[in-house]
């Protein structure tokens, strides 16, 4: 049974707005309510269609009134901030993420109309350590529990969602652990990061990156909202690239920075307003993390349209490379012709030398055994 009234939190961001817009085009859904603390940007607002926007803070008990009065039956929780600056600092970020999720869950627990809850979680819950297995399945836990920041917040939120599911067994709960988003339109850590002409990386480490194209992310969210999957699933594109390889494909210049200097560098770029990233996210990238996709394919029933490489290439269309591959190609082609020219030149020289000073022809070589005949 498709949902009648859907509430989407974090609708002012690209992915939340896109989900609300997509749901609004579905005639089977009566109402789509978007909630966020800030009003959506004009271009997001234009696409939202018949979505009703409620400017509310999920940390405020007001959210319970919204859920009650509209008798919301499906809640999609996407209002989780991954960077401190986006929320105005680490303390407000933690408050929005953890306290906001608790308030929202408390409101849902009281509302008898709610029967489905979808959480946009992250693969960061698996942590990052050298003791990690190469590929994570949903049943695995972080070998080194993340101690702070976004990963810790996400772990806490997943914990609250699990206890909510225990207290309201009649509610179907779907937890989606997303890999890094990428694509021409979405705003994520990596899309911002890869737009820098010179990208800092941690010296001595090369992460395996698994990405997810924005179209696939949207399709998975729509399916999770309207479908009947319950449980936890990883969501990522098949295949991986190394961080160094991704930067080369995008024609960026990587600048390896000693891990001790990463903290001050991130402060510098943040104060310069270039890119908002935390050293914690950088460290999450050190070892890389690959997700097992069996549950997504078989139980959730979705196969991503983009592989990691294809998603990266699609994003790459929107960033002008610093080192254009065409230039590298033409340099390589030039080098190749130079090699063959030098080769023909040398053979020509040898032939000329031979015609000038003809050598006595070598005795024909006879391979194999030789017999000496005595006449």
């Amino acid at each position: 049974m498709p949902p009648a009234v859907v509430l989407v939190t974090g609708v002012s961001r690209w992915l939340g707005g896109a989900l609300a817009a997509e749901l609004a085009t579905d005639p089977a859904i009566d109402r789509v309510i978007g909630v966020d603390t800030v009003p959506p940007a004009p271009e997001v607002l234009r696409r939202l269609g018949r979505t009703e926007f409620v400017r509310a803070d999920i940390r405020n008990p007001l959210i319970a009134k919204v859920i009650d009065s509209a008798s919301v039956d499906t809640v999609v929780h996407m209002n989780i901030s991954s960077t401190p600056a986006g929320a105005g600092g680490r303390v407000p970020m933690k408050e929005l993420n953890v306290i906001g999720s608790m308030q929202l869950l408390a409101a849902c627990q009281r509302a008898p109309s709610v029967r489905r809850f979808v959480l946009k979680s992250t693969s960061a819950v698996y942590g990052a350590s050298p003791r990690d297995p190469a590929v994570f399945t949903e049943a695995m836990q972080a070998r080194q529990v993340p101690r702070g920041g976004f990963a810790k917040d996400s772990l806490d939120i997943e914990g609250y969602v699990r206890s909510f599911a225990r207290r309201r067994p009649d509610v179907d709960v779907a937890v989606l652990r997303f890999a890094h988003f990428i694509g021409p339109r979405i705003d994520s850590l990596l899309t911002e990061f890869f737009r820098l002409p010179v990208v800092p990386t941690v010296l001595g480490y090369d992460a395996r990156l698994q990405l997810l194209h924005e179209d696939d992310a949207l399709a998975v969210l729509v399916r999770a909202t309207t479908g009947d999957f319950t449980g936890t699933t990883n969501v990522a594109a098949p295949g991986t690239v190394l961080l160094s390889q991704a930067l080369r494909r995008l024609g960026r210049i990587a600048v390896p920075v000693p891990s001790a200097a990463i903290g001050s560098l991130s402060k510098l770029t943040r104060s310069a307003g270039m890119v908002d990233w935390s050293p914690e996210q950088m460290r999450l990238l050190n070892y890389g993390r690959v997700l097992d996709l069996r549950v997504l394919r078989e139980e959730f029933g979705y196969s991503p349209r983009f592989t990691t490489a294809a998603a990266l290439a699609d994003y790459g269309r929107t960033v002008a490379p610093v080192v254009p591959p065409e230039l590298v190609g033409s340099v390589a082609a030039g080098a190749r012709t130079a090699v063959s020219r030098a080769a023909t030149g040398i053979t020509g020289l040898r032939a000329a030398g031979r015609s000038l000073w003809p050598r006595t022809p070598d005795a024909p070589l006879v391979p194999g055994l030789r017999a000496v005949r005595d006449l």
């Binding site: 350590s129 050298p130 003791r131 990690d132 297995p133 190469a134 590929v135 399945t137 695995m140 010296l203 001595g204 480490y205 090369d206 395996r208 295949g239 991986t240 690239v241 190394l242 160094s244 390889q245 991704a246 930067l247 080369r248 494909r249 995008l250 024609g251 891990s259 070892y287 890389g288 690959v290 080192v323 591959p325 590298v328 190609g329 340099v331 390589a332 080098a335 190749r336 090699v339 063959s340 030098a342 080769a343 006879v366 391979p367 194999g368 055994l369 030789r370 017999a371 000496v372 005949r373 005595d374 006449l375």
Partner: protein, 301 residues
């Protein structure tokens, strides 16, 4: 008396096959240019474990080959025991202070095996927590020695290599050479049982003598966070020169595969089966080590 004349025994006809000449400098340079173009534009493939075949084939294996062919003069035996396709777990003894033996086994299986198999090594977490080394190990196809990774690789039909002695083997004193250390908790056997792949015992002779470890500077090891800090007759006495390995003569022998599929995956939870198989593998390797040592005339020839 007329001059002696050389006549061919087989006039015309079946000429003995001449080995294909090595590619000329022109082809080599063109290949180098192509390789550099691929590296600069990121136009190569890597797998979920971070394995980079392009880098391995064009940089690492060519660097290791002179050591394999000229320096250690490695002789491989029993390659017919390593299957051409499908997963198998190669279990080998570990020695040599620095794990050169794993690299030489990688070259042996790629260059000497008819199917040119990739050797996917399982390494200790110390390898992956060390900057540079961890990233390079992954690019060479290694991954963390844990059951999840081993089973995933074996199920994907890869040839996985494991050294169950770990640091106990690679960092043992020279006086204990060619005596196998404890084989961990038999985790490698449970991985093979769950994946239902054969275990191929492998004995490596020669690696023990490359850096004869006559002492262990425990304090230096503790300060540097290493499991041991080797003292050899030349290191640290001669400085960097002491890091040149001695040119011992090597043998790598693969024994008959030990089949595990008939036990069924449930046997992985039966400690008796696991212990018995672990002992069987360990004894096979120890036995073939002694046999290989008898074949070797001296350490260096």
């Amino acid at each position: 008396m007329p001059e002696a004349r050389v006549i061919p025994l087989h006039p015309g006809g079946d000429e003995p096959s001449t080995p294909t000449p090595p590619p000329g400098w022109e082809a080599q340079l063109t290949e180098l240019v192509d390789f550099l173009r691929r590296r600069v534009t990121g136009d190569y493939d890597t797998d979920d474990f971070g394995f980079d075949p392009d880098l391995t084939d064009h940089v690492v294996l060519p660097l290791l080959r002179p050591w394999f062919q000229r320096w250690f003069r490695v002789e491989t035996q029993g390659l017919e025991n390593v299957p051409d396709v499908g997963g198998a777990l190669v279990v080998a003894n570990h020695s040599g202070t620095i794990p050169v033996d794993s690299l030489m086994a990688t070259v042996a299986l790629h260059d000497d095996h008819p199917a040119a198999r990739r050797f996917r090594l399982l390494g200790a977490d110390l390898v992956f927590s060390t900057p540079f080394m961890g990233a390079l190990a992954r690019k060479l196809g290694a991954t963390l020695a844990c059951n999840e990774d081993a089973e995933r690789l074996l199920r994907a039909g890869e040839l996985v290599g494991v050294f169950p002695e770990g640091f106990k083997g690679v960092g043992k004193p020279f006086s204990e050479r060619y005596t196998l250390q404890r084989f961990g908790r038999g985790g490698f056997v449970t991985a093979a049982l769950r994946a239902g792949v054969p275990i191929v015992p492998c004995a490596i002779v020669g690696a023990e003598e490359i850096y004869p470890m006559i002492g262990n500077a425990r304090t230096a090891a503790r300060v540097l966070g290493l499991p041991y800090f080797p003292i050899t007759p030349t290191f640290p006495l001669l400085g960097p020169l002491g890091m040149v390995p001695l040119p011992s003569k090597w043998f790598i022998a693969f024994g008959e595969p030990i089949e595990t599929a008939s036990y069924g995956p449930a046997a992985a939870d039966d400690p008796m089966v696991v212990f018995n198989l672990t002992d069987q593998v360990r004894e096979t390797i120890q036995h073939s080590l002694y046999q290989l040592l008898l074949q070797r005339r001296s350490v260096f020839s």
